[in-house]
């Protein structure tokens, strides 16, 4: 297969996932409701109390992490449930399957993270990032990082017997470096600190994405083919 074929099959897989998602709206509906429920739990427990801005940064990442955990395994588990894994294995190369799923998961995560941030901005009164530019950069870059790490883990657990429960267990240690730098960069964005103090965290997020995607492309074949 040459590059254009790979590109075409990536786009085909992405298109297929988007279309089946738009048809059922399973993931989007369930995930948006999940976010609403989680946020209302947070609002109940805060109950009008003012919380430090750094705590808000932590809360935001907790919601983003668990939303990702409940939604991102879907793309591969659904293939197993529908019994379409074999067809995909026959029709597309592992690399194009991986990249197609990665793009779909990234789009889903970015949508989800933006929705979560919008709800935070609307419903938590003192949730006001001092540096909106940096804040959105961190949230979006963090979203890409989360989806890049979880895509291959989703592929792993889709082949295991206990699909749902293992996903957060396997993802958490892998995601921790990115969660920690994401939280610390968000804290910097919430407060009026120098933009440059978040630079190390942003670099770390960037290199994390590169490392994980490279490793996943090399390893995906072994997960995908029996």
């Amino acid at each position: 297969m040459n590059t254009t074929d790979v590109m075409r099959s990536i786009i085909a897989i992405l298109g297929k996932d988007v279309r089946s998602e738009l048809r059922t709206r399973y993931a989007v509906n369930a995930l948006l409701m999940f976010v609403v429920v989680t946020l209302s739990v947070i609002l109940f427990s805060l109950a009008g109390e003012t919380v430090a801005r750094s705590v808000h940064a932590g809360l935001l990442w907790v919601v983003m992490f668990f939303a990702a955990m409940s939604g991102l395994a879907r793309s591969f588990v659904a293939e197993e449930e529908r019994g379409t894994t074999l067809t995909l294995q026959l029709l597309a190369t592992p690399v194009s399957v991986y990249i197609g799923k990665l793009l779909f998961n990234t789009a889903l995560t970015l949508l989800l993270n933006s929705f979560i941030v919008l709800l935070f901005l609307l419903f938590i009164p003192d949730f006001t990032p001092a540096q909106p530019g940096l804040f959105w950069t961190v949230v979006l870059l963090g979203g890409v990082a989360v989806s890049s790490a979880t895509t291959i883990i989703a592929a792993i657990i889709a082949r295991a017997n206990t699909k749902g429960t293992l996903f957060p267990v396997l993802s958490f240690p892998i995601l921790l470096p990115l969660l920690m730098s994401g939280i610390s960069a968000t804290k910097i964005a919430m407060e009026e600190q120098a933009w440059t103090s978040a630079w190390a965290d942003l670099q770390l997020l960037g290199s994390y994405i590169v490392v994980v995607v490279t490793a996943s492309i090399l390893l995906f074949e072994h997960v995908w083919k029996d």
């Binding site: 790490a149 291959i152 883990i153 792993i156 657990i157 082949r159 295991a160 017997n161 206990t162 293992l166 267990v169 396997l170 958490f172 240690p173 892998i174 921790l176 470096p177 920690m180 190390a200 770390l204 994390y208 490392v211 994980v212 490793a215 996943s216 390893l219 072994h222 997960v223 029996d226």
Partner: protein, 318 residues
């Protein structure tokens, strides 16, 4: 056979040396304790500079001798009375505190005469500094076992030999054992040195993450029934964890402020192994213990691998 005996005596001997070697400071240490306003007495090691000048001091009460410490500095040491073994002595380890006005060390107790090897005195750690000889080798084995596990994981993915997968899992099991030991020993020690069992110091975080990785690895293995599937998926997970987790073990503890030596805000001891805090004796004992633990790991690994190989052969034959 012989190397297993050697291993036993090696580890036993260096453990004994590690525990029995006395901690002793220099004149710099005792002077620093005095400057910090601490009334605490610390052990000081010195050589008698000139025996003939040792005599009852000008104040009439104390027996004073001039001593030179390991760094070549000298000061007077005031004993309450003439020590009984003075004739045979060339040096002492004494317990004492520094009197800056008279530039002398006031000795309250003789700890040992003609001392041999000593470990350096580190303020706030004292005898507890010896944990480095037992806790650090175990922590290193955690990482080495992880490395070996990943190495056999890669080999499995290349050659699809189930024995490589078994080795990978066994190494991960040993890594989990060492990881639990490193966590619990560190935690017990932290209770006495830092006041609580767990402080979320960056290095504590890193060992915790490693513990989670090992836990997740075995959770994944137990969720997979088919051997080939289990082998390749757990190998992939091991490699994936290995490319992301070193950040915790090697980078984060050094760039973040913390309680362990070698943290970013550590000004007094620095990276303990490479400079500062340790002397040659302590370094030799530490490296010997490290070597001993590596051989111990290799032995346990070999033992388990041959048992597993037998089990696999038996399962094939049946």
């Amino acid at each position: 056979m012989w190397w297993k005996l050697l291993l036993f005596f090696w580890i036993a001997a260096f453990s004994a040396i590690g525990i029995l070697t006395p901690i002793a400071g220099t004149l710099g240490d005792v002077a620093m304790m005095g400057q910090m306003g601490s009334a605490k007495e610390i052990p000081v090691k010195f050589e008698i500079a000139d025996k003939s000048t040792a005599a009852v001091g000008a104040d009439g009460a104390a027996f004073v001798m001039r001593g030179i410490d390991a760094q070549g500095r000298s000061a007077d040491f005031a004993f309450a009375s003439n020590p009984s073994d003075f004739d045979a002595a060339t040096g002492y380890i004494v317990q004492g505190r520094y009197d800056a006005a008279a530039h002398r060390v006031i000795v309250s107790k003789v700890l040992s005469t003609n001392p041999g090897m000593t470990f350096p005195f580190i303020p706030g750690l004292e005898e507890r500094a010896k944990i480095i000889l037992f806790h650090v080798p175990v922590s290193w084995m955690t990482v080495i076992a992880f490395l070996v596990s990943m190495w056999y994981g890669i080999r499995y993915l290349r050659k699809k030999d189930l024995e490589d997968d078994a080795k990978s899992a066994i190494s991960a099991g040993l890594g989990l054992l060492f990881c639990i030991l490193a966590t619990t020993t560190g935690s017990v020690w932290a209770k006495f040195n830092w006041g609580s069992f767990w402080n979320w110091d960056p290095r504590e975080t890193s060992i915790f993450v490693l513990l989670l990785v090992y836990g997740a690895y075995f959770a994944l293995r137990s969720a997979l029934d088919i051997e080939e599937k289990r082998a390749s998926l757990s190998a992939v997970y091991g490699i994936l964890a290995f490319v992301t987790v070193p950040f915790f073990i090697f980078i984060m503890p050094r760039i973040l402020p913390g309680l362990h030596p070698g943290s970013a805000d550590d000004t007094n001891s620095g990276p303990v192994v490479s400079s500062g805090g340790m002397n040659a004796t302590m370094r030799i004992v530490l490296y010997s213990m490290l070597l001993g633990h590596i051989v111990l790991y290799a032995w346990l690994m070999r033992l388990r691998v041959s048992v597993t190989r037998l089990a696999m052969r038996k399962a094939d034959g049946a």
